[in-house]
């Protein structure tokens, strides 16, 4: 993936968010030093239009960066903040405070759209959506979840900071799309680590990578990683206001199926060392397993896609797929 922005962004991530730094902040609430570096890089306003003082970039242009952020395990709601700032700016609200912002989609009855709450990542704000209305609200730390992350909770006592109209479920699609991109990146991370490990670790007098069973497993991982990367680019292909329901309906089932395979094959390749707390593998697989639980998992999205196909049963499936895709 080549892109003028990607290389400098990757250098920044190498610099500020190496696995050691991620590990240090793994069980903490946010990483102020990493956030400061991101904020100063100007990337948080990448999606904000130029007339509102941003860089006016498209989600498609940011997709490789969002995947790279997942690949680097960036422990902060970077894409979420970018999306929130662009959505708010589009509705005429400029967010003066350049701190992290979470996305918080609710259903019409006000229930969360995901069984796992957002990881707080040092955020004080969340953009919350219910029906056709988005509200900027305060969040506080909610406690530590079973994955060890500090989650966020809406601060129900405080008054909303801003409120504007937003097409129903826009935030859900954005939040799910960003999850897909982060997962695609984490999957690539597992593959890279696994390839390096099987070429180095020796058993029976030769590197594991010489064994055909391992080669086949790594190839299957690579296939799923490539598929995930294209799915992530696809879910972010639509210009602002951003992803549509069926974009997510294509991407989330594909990512989920692939992530399960990549987690299993990655852990198989590493053996016992991958199960240890001090090994980096679980930094990736923990996020993937949490991602599987987010925003409905695969089933309801797959169902929506199937329903859309049945609503136009006349043409071929090629016609249907072509009509889904943007551009």
């Amino acid at each position: 993936m080549s892109n003028d922005l990607l290389e400098p962004f990757q250098r920044l991530l190498d610099d500020v968010s190496p696995p050691e730094a991620v590990r240090r902040t793994e069980n903490e609430d946010g990483a102020p030093a990493i956030w400061a570096a991101l904020r100063d890089s100007g990337f948080v306003d990448a999606l904000v239009s130029e007339e509102h003082g941003g860089a006016g970039l498209s989600p498609a242009e940011m997709a490789p960066l969002l995947i790279a952020a997942g690949r680097h395990l960036l422990p902060l709601p970077f894409g979420e903040t970018m999306a929130a700032r662009a959505i708010a700016a589009g509705a005429g609200h400029r967010l003066e405070d350049a701190g992290p912002v979470l996305l918080w989609p609710l259903d019409r009855e006000g229930r969360a759209r995901s069984i796992v709450p957002p990881i707080r990542g040092g955020a004080d704000l969340a953009l919350v959506q219910q029906a056709g209305r988005a509200t900027l609200r305060r969040v506080v730390a909610g406690g530590r979840d079973g994955f060890g992350f500090v989650t966020a909770a809406l601060d129900t006592g405080s008054a909303p900071i801003a409120s504007f109209e937003l097409a129903e479920d826009s935030l859900l699609y954005w939040a799910a799309a960003l999850t897909v991109a982060a997962m695609a990146g984490a999957m690539a991370g597992v593959l890279d680590m696994s390839i390096a490990y099987v070429n180095e670790r020796q058993q029976f007098g030769r590197p594991l990578g010489k064994f055909q069973a391992i080669q086949q497993q790594i190839s299957v991982m690579a296939e799923r990683v490539a598929m995930a990367s294209v799915a992530a680019q696809g879910v972010l292909a639509r210009p602002l206001p951003g992803p549509a329901a069926l974009d997510v309906a294509v991407a989330k089932p594909v990512i989920d199926a692939g992530a399960s395979i990549v987690c299993a094959a990655g852990h198989a390749a590493f053996g016992a060392i991958g199960i240890t707390a001090e090994h980096d593998l679980s930094l990736f697989t923990r996020r993937l397993k949490r991602g599987l639980l987010a925003f409905g998992g695969a089933q309801p999205w797959a169902k929506a896609l199937g329903r859309a196909r049945l609503a136009q049963a006349g043409g071929t499936s090629v016609d249907f797929i072509r009509a889904l895709q943007h551009g």
Partner: protein, 385 residues
């Protein structure tokens, strides 16, 4: 990130290529109108010379070959659109399929000018059909162990030995055969060459083999001192191994490897559309379509690389493996869904289509290189072994 994955950059089919789609659809509507799904599902193995000639008349065979050899001079995207529509409709492409996908590009790259002038225009007209003589009884995945041999006799060659699984040898005009011209099986990749074998020559015996559905598309082919002229050699003597690998790369790089079960899928969609409890099956259908949609994007990404003059062999192998897996899952998923609901049985046509696809689907990951061999190639591309 791993360089292999960096090459999957999502791309778009340019409108110049999309322009062909409507025309292809209109053409197919008149040809395919009353063919039942179980016939259309045979697409790859549907041999229909009249159909191939009609495609040839429209310039739709050899679409990417240069115009001065009778080709269409179009880019890889235009071919993608054409092939995608042919397969989605279940068009009977077998007669010209191998010549179009493999033989013509091989002759263009490695043939002499005289060979190009003789063969390419006839292929493009849909009048000359080819088959591939690679596999032998004792040389399957291990292709380098072929024993069929051509020995010099004056200016000519004498060809003896046996090929097997040769798709449509019994209806083709020529075979491009990989044979040994020097050394023995211990010499492996060295000493192999490719020949254009005129299948009407004396000394050739072609015996069809029925497949597990009773269809007869592949054959055993025996050569008994078949006299080949000097100009039957294609490419360089002794360079057959490199040529065959280039040929297989042409074969793997199209959209062909995601749509082998699409006729069945769409027949099931029509069945579901009339079902009161269709909602129960939406998720199953959606999962298949999600995979198909992303695989299509991956295929377009590889097509963009082809159009840019690259030959992304590992990427093509990767898509083929994922694609054949989807093609094989489709009949299994549909079978499960239909079987679970005896109160809403499928009509005869859908059931026949399912029976056919679910029986032949193992072949999807055998033909053109098995799943295990492809995964070995991918591993090598990733820097293992």
């Amino acid at each position: 990130m791993t360089t292999l994955l960096d090459s999957f950059v999502r791309s778009h089919i340019p409108s110049s290529a999309e322009a062909l789609r409507g025309e292809v659809k209109a053409f197919l509507r008149s040809w395919m109108a009353d063919r039942p799904a179980h016939v259309r599902a045979r697409s790859w193995s549907g041999f229909d010379a009249a159909f191939s000639r009609a495609l040839g008349e429209r310039g739709w065979i050899g679409l990417t070959l240069p115009r001065d050899h009778g080709g269409g001079g179009a880019d890889a995207f235009t071919r993608f659109v054409l092939v995608e529509e042919l397969l989605a409709a279940g068009a009977p492409v077998a007669a010209h399929w191998i010549a179009d996908r493999q033989s013509a590009p091989l002759i263009l790259h490695y043939g002499t000018e005289a060979q190009r002038e003789h063969f390419l225009p006839r292929i493009c007209k849909g009048e000359m059909y080819f088959c591939i003589g690679m596999s032998e009884p004792n040389a399957g995945s291990d292709l380098a162990s072929v024993r069929t041999r051509a020995v010099r006799d004056g200016d000519d060659w004498l060809l003896s030995g046996q090929k097997i699984w040769t798709t449509y040898a019994h209806k083709s005009h020529y075979m491009i055969a990989l044979v040994r011209t020097s050394g023995g099986p211990q010499d492996r990749q060295a000493g192999l060459s490719q020949f254009l074998v005129d299948l009407s020559l004396p000394g050739i015996d072609i015996r069809p083999i029925a497949d597990l559905t009773g269809d007869a598309h592949f054959n055993e082919v025996f050569f008994d001192e078949v006299r080949l002229p000097a100009d039957a050699l294609v490419g360089t003597e002794g360079a057959g191994w490199a040529q065959v690998n280039a040929e297989l790369a042409f074969e793997r790089s199209g959209p062909e490897r995601i749509y082998s079960s699409i006729v069945l899928l769409d027949a099931w969609v029509r069945h579901l559309a009339n079902l009161p409890n269709a909602a129960e099956h939406e998720a199953r259908l959606g999962l298949l379509l999600a995979r198909m949609a992303v695989l299509r994007d991956m295929s377009i990404a590889v097509t963009a690389r082809l159009a840019a003059g690259e030959s992304p062999a590992t990427e093509a192998a990767l898509i083929k493996d994922l694609g054949t897996e989807l093609e094989q899952d489709i009949p299994r998923e549909i079978g499960e869904a239909l079987a679970a609901d005896p109160s809403a049985p499928p009509d005869e046509e859908l059931l026949r289509t399912l029976a056919f696809v679910s029986q032949v689907n193992p072949a999807f990951s055998l033909r053109g290189g098995t799943r295990e061999i492809l995964r070995g190639m991918i591993a090598r591309g990733l820097g293992l072994r």
